[in-house]
Point group: C2
Chain length 305, copies 2
């Protein structure tokens, strides 16, 4: 009896201690993934088919969101070229390790061999390296950055900003789509494009016209064998990766589209998930990093429910 | 006659103007590559075969420099395992896009199926996340960094440093080789290794034991198809990439070695080449970036002349 009572008293006090501990301990912090999974539907935005490119490779579909607010003339030209099937049958003719893949017409600069541009293509455009920040909703990251006075997000894209000059530009993060050019700043028209596949080459920021970002399918571009020639070019054309087609999503029959949603970069869920990565508190991390780099921020994507 | 004189006078004055212009214009700045090409032989150091691993894949050789001063116990264990042929016939069983490849024994945690460790392998090691900066030659980069109070180079490796705690650690840049672990900080022994193949995951800095860096052959690891399972694992073993062998270079017959030299990170050529990238002045760049990120610094390698 005494033993039973003692046991009962003990178990009660243990229970009380456990309750007290529960009350004292803060709840286990949510992981970034848990935050994203719990995001309300209002935190997600549909990818606009009229502003989305599907790049079809033998290995699958690469999905690109264009940035008409940053590079209106280049994006308009790219839409014209996509509608005209310009890239269909062309190829990825450069893959430089830890840098970029580049695609378009490898003979584009040889008058006799170049593939003709579709009707309506502009063959000269002004450089669109930066845009004004006037009236633009800029969601700033609090984290320090060595390449830009300020960094954050505009229209869901990672950007740099210089408040002194009032300029905004898209950052060269992994997945960024840019327009290749020659030495002249206004020598790009969007016919030759590159995608960043390596450590963010932010030294290119506001030196080229950035036109969008790969939102799904990077793993198809990043594994393309590196070209053996300098800068990752392939002298042997048979090593190039053929492009089946690049089409505007809205020109693809609805049943064949990939309806995606992106987490809004100004949603609380995005802010909280980024903070959960900046200060990871889980069983693995011994010390939270306390920082996140613009190009380490992830952009959650999901199939439209 | 007058015309000829006039022409002569004109051409003389044009010549004089050209000379004056030459004298006024500073010489064209050297590119990083030109600086590296002109580096004296004293700026180069031999890769030490006793401290170098050759990872042989069907696609070629990946060359790794180990960091015994940062992770002495892990590196000693890795040398024991390499000498015992531990990784020969094992595989790369994880490739996560924009993050890491990981290799070793996929059954390493299953008692019945795990490949036995070679004689002398330590099956428990302390975590070696950081080392003391006392007496260590630290070549600091002047550039701001969000992940560490200071960044720079030690023994030719990119590192972070906290002068307040007196700690140094190797940074998770592209090509960094680390020892996988479970939640317990002291659960790595070097049997399972990962190589960074994506945007520098610096959030991992001083959370894992870093043991070295790939100095040549990254393009063989970075193109490994991404695993379809979560975190880039392959549930289908046939998708894994076989490792022919991992050997210490000094255990390979001299004729089969790849004698390499690395540009010393404390040489004037390295400092000047880094500055030439930080403030690029060439026909392509409209505005020099004025900054370089620790993980954007390149480590020049050449065949030993």
């Amino acid at each position: 009896m005494r033993i039973a009572l003692l046991a009962a008293a003990l178990s009660t006090s243990l229970l009380m201690a456990a309750h007290a501990q529960e009350a004292q301990q803060p709840p286990k912090p949510k992981t970034a993934q848990e935050i994203i999974n719990a995001a309300p539907s209002s935190a997600w935005r549909d990818l606009d088919p009229a502003n989305t490119l599907y790049m079809e490779l033998a290995s699958g579909r690469v999905i690109i969101e264009l940035a008409p607010n940053f590079a209106p003339k280049h994006v308009a030209n790219i839409l014209t070229m996509a509608k005209g099937g310009f890239w269909d049958g062309l190829n990825i003719y450069r893959s430089q390790d830890n840098f970029v893949v580049q695609f378009g017409d490898p003979d584009g600069e040889e008058a006799g061999k170049a593939k003709p541009y579709p009707a309506g293509t502009q063959t000269h455009l002004p450089a669109e390296f930066t845009r004004s920040d006037k009236g633009v909703k800029f969601d700033r990251l609090p984290d320090v950055d060595g390449w830009a006075p300020q960094v954050g997000f505009v229209d869901g894209f990672p950007v740099g900003r210089n408040p002194k000059t009032g300029k905004l530009w898209m950052a060269h993060c992994y997945g960024t789509l840019g327009a290749g050019r020659n030495n002249a700043p206004d020598s790009s028209i969007g016919a030759e494009l590159y995608v960043v596949t390596g450590q963010s080459p932010r030294a290119l920021d506001h030196q080229l016209t950035v036109v969008g970002r790969v939102v799904q399918g990077m793993e198809l571009l990043s594994v393309i064998p590196r070209g053996p020639a300098p800068m990752g070019f392939y002298t042997d054309p048979s090593l190039r990766t053929p492009i089946v087609s690049i089409k505007l999503a809205s020109d693809v029959p609805e049943a064949q589209r990939t309806p995606l949603q992106l987490l809004r970069t100004d949603s609380q869920a995005f802010i909280d998930a980024t903070e959960a990565r900046r200060n990871r508190k889980d069983d693995f991390y011994t010390e939270p990093p306390g920082h996140i780099d613009l190009c380490n921020v992830t952009f959650p994507v999901r199939a439209r429910p």
